[in-house]
């Protein structure tokens, strides 16, 4: 047991890697076996992540030295509260997507399970690593897997959007490399904690280079986080991807947000006042919010609405991170968890609902709405027709995830936004930018209510256009699991809030982080 405890930090990286490799040994047709291995492995991953959350909340930041080299010289994995929480979130989301895919999607194309496991490995590694170049490698691992998953199920639309996705992300990766090597060239280190400690000692003449390096790095992260002018690739790719893949992708933009949060606060969160980067994040986030809200209102297709709601949540997070205040960051972390689960559930749900409808009906409905053509009045003989149980259940879950996305009480989206507003209004005097952000977040909530309400009415309350969708129990349980976790987040809002507050406080104390990472002795 003690061996496992000692190596707990590396388990979320090694376990999916081993499982993914194992998958390659089995014949492609043995779906049941592969699915079983994948489910067991992901359950173990959730257990490991939960154990990690308990360990780091002790409170003890867990530092794992790969190869047992001392910290600034080799790669370390660092699990603090934020990393552990995000690893847990990724595993839960991965499990739900996997469960959903067992009904039929995992048979749609080869290597689905291996790709999911490698994606989880990359995401967990990116959350855990304490080294900038290693972060790049894990980014590439998760991106490589996500290219495969974006293409999963083939079809012209998926191939076309994947081509854009791969090109944009390859370019972003090259930009990432330029930023990393600039920072290395000036400071001579790649360890994030060491970078934060050395950056104050950089001579005045090289200050500009450091800031340029950080800004270039920031661009790469923001492409991944889909900030406004850099995020046009997202809605097309995510709405074309198969449902389980899209649900998994809900965590990918959060990896970008995480990288911004961690690297920016470590590098410039010390006593030196941060350069204008915070303002860029704040206003860029606001623009992203606006773009996402308009996109949500303009979309008809459920997957597209979900994709734009992901843009909205990325914008909210980036703007909140840009405020650079511990209370606001804490609320943003809570929002991150809630919105990822909500959007993930919505992606899965969207596919279930759309399954029964034919795509042409959407177009007709839109035209009819635009030109004010009323449908002919139905003879009133349908009074008392029982709603099919599937539709009723789907409707309930749809309402739950819509409440999370729009941020209405009583689900965690509301608690997150409430905490966010409380944090923004705590400053005296309240700056204008805070009012702007509050107004935009409220506006985006209204837009979400309108868009989701319209989609919900069309999906559940109109006369059925096709048959009742055939939903397998396992698909429903995947969506139900995500909604259940959201409900738990509401009930356990107190402890979770306390946890994210501690996480945010630690984030805003880069000195403490550097001390813990660098002081570990063999």
């Amino acid at each position: 047991m003690s061996v496992l405890r000692e190596h707990l930090v590396v388990v979320p990286v090694v376990l999916p890697l081993a499982t993914g490799a194992l998958m390659l040994l089995f014949e492609e047709r043995r779906h049941a076996l592969k699915g079983a291995i994948s489910v067991v492995s992901t359950l173990l991953l959730i257990a490991a992540a939960a154990a990690l959350v308990r360990v780091v909340d002790a409170p003890a930041t867990a530092v794992y030295r790969i190869g047992d080299w001392p910290a600034p010289f080799a790669i370390v994995l660092v699990a603090d509260r934020l990393s552990a929480l995000l690893v847990l979130l990724a595993s839960v989301l991965g499990f739900a997507a996997l469960l959903f895919s067992l009904a039929r999607w995992h048979r749609a194309a080869p290597r689905f399970h291996a790709l999911v496991q490698i994606l989880l490995m990359g995401v967990n590694g990116a959350f855990l690593t304490g080294d900038l170049f290693n972060l790049f490698v894990f980014f590439e691992v998760l991106l490589a897997a996500s290219y495969g998953l974006a293409l999963h199920g083939a079809g012209a639309a998926r191939v076309r959007t994947s081509l854009h996705y791969i090109t944009v992300n390859l370019t972003a990766s090259l930009i990432f490399l330029i930023g990393v090597s600039l920072l290395y060239g000036v400071t001579g280190t790649l360890n994030m904690a060491d970078l934060g400690a050395r950056i104050n000692a950089v001579p005045e003449a090289d200050r500009g280079l450091v800031q340029a390096g950080a800004a270039v790095l920031g661009i790469a992260f923001l492409v991944k986080a889909a900030m406004w002018p850099l995020g046009f690739w997202l809605p097309g790719v995510y709405s074309a991807a198969s449902a389980p893949a899209a649900a998994l992708f809900a965590i990918l933009t959060k990896v970008g947000v995480y990288a911004v949060l961690r690297v920016w606060l470590l590098l410039f969160g010390g006593d030196e006042p941060a350069p204008a980067f915070g303002g860029w994040l704040l206003y860029g986030g606001c623009l992203t919010l606006l773009f996402g809200s308009v996109g949500m209102l303009a979309s008809q297709d459920l997957q597209r609405i979900a994709a734009y709601s992901l843009v909205v949540s990325a914008g909210t997070l980036l703007a909140a991170v840009g405020v650079a205040d511990a209370a606001v960051t804490a609320a943003a972390l809570y929002y991150l968890v809630a919105s990822t689960l909500g959007v993930g559930a919505f992606f899965l749900l969207g596919e279930l609902i759309e399954r029964a409808r034919n795509p042409a009906a959407d177009m007709l409905a839109l035209t009819a709405e635009a030109f004010g053509i009323e449908e002919e009045a139905q003879p009133e003989e349908e009074v008392g027709v029982a709603i099919p149980a599937t539709i009723a259940l789907l409707g309930f879950v749809f309402a739950c995830s819509a409440l999370v996305i729009a941020g209405l009480p009583p689900l965690p989206g509301f608690i997150a936004k409430f905490a966010l507003f409380a944090g923004l209004l705590a400053a005296t005097p309240v700056p204008d930018s805070a009012w702007l952000l509050i107004a935009l977040i409220t506006l985006s909530g209204i837009a979400a209510v309108v868009a989701l309400g319209r989609a919900g009415v069309r999906a559940f309350w109109m006369a059925p256009e096709g048959a009742v969708p055939r939903v397998r129990l396992i698909e429903f349980s995947a969506v139900g699991l995500l909604v259940l976790v959201c409900l738990t987040l509401t009930v356990a809002a107190g402890p979770v809030m306390r946890y994210v507050r501690d996480a945010a406080a630690a984030l805003h104390d880069p000195r403490g982080y550097a001390r813990e990472v660098l002081s570990v002795t063999p």
Binding site: F133, V137, E140, A144, Y147, L151, A154, G155, A156, V159, R160, S162, L163, H164, I166, T167, L170, T171, S173, L174, L177, I178, V180, S181, L182, Y184, G185, L190
Partner: protein, 115 residues
């Protein structure tokens, strides 16, 4: 002088790569990405400072002066970057061929402009 030549080479590669990346044909995009990745690889290498005639590996035992040696880390990093961008380019080529087969055109948007 060396610095100037290397800087010009990186700038040239980046410029050509960016121009090709913005072209509408998928193959041009792939070549553009390759050129960009060469530029970035050179850039990483140069960030370890240009030294001629300096070995990157310090002999075992005490007393070696690190200033007399080239920085080995960017050389290791560039190796990783080369492998990754190489693999990704190969993947992109496969997707390019699939897109060509499925859409019948090599335009990046999957249809000819004006169609």
């Amino acid at each position: 002088m060396n610095e100037l030549i290397v800087a010009l080479a990186i700038g040239m590669l980046t410029g050509c790569g960016t121009w090709l990346l913005l072209r509408p044909r998928t193959f041009q995009v792939v070549i553009g990405l390759s050129l960009l990745s060469y530029a970035v690889n050179l850039f990483i290498f140069v960030m370890g400072r240009l030294r001629s005639g300096a070995a990157p590996i310090v002999p075992a035992g005490p007393g070696a002066d690190p200033a007399a040696y080239a920085d080995p880390l960017p050389q290791a990093l560039v190796l990783t970057a080369i492998v990754i961008s190489f693999a990704m380019t190969a993947l992109l080529l496969v997707v390019l061929l699939a897109a060509r087969g499925l859409t019948g055109t090599d335009h990046v948007d999957g249809r000819e402009p004006g169609e």
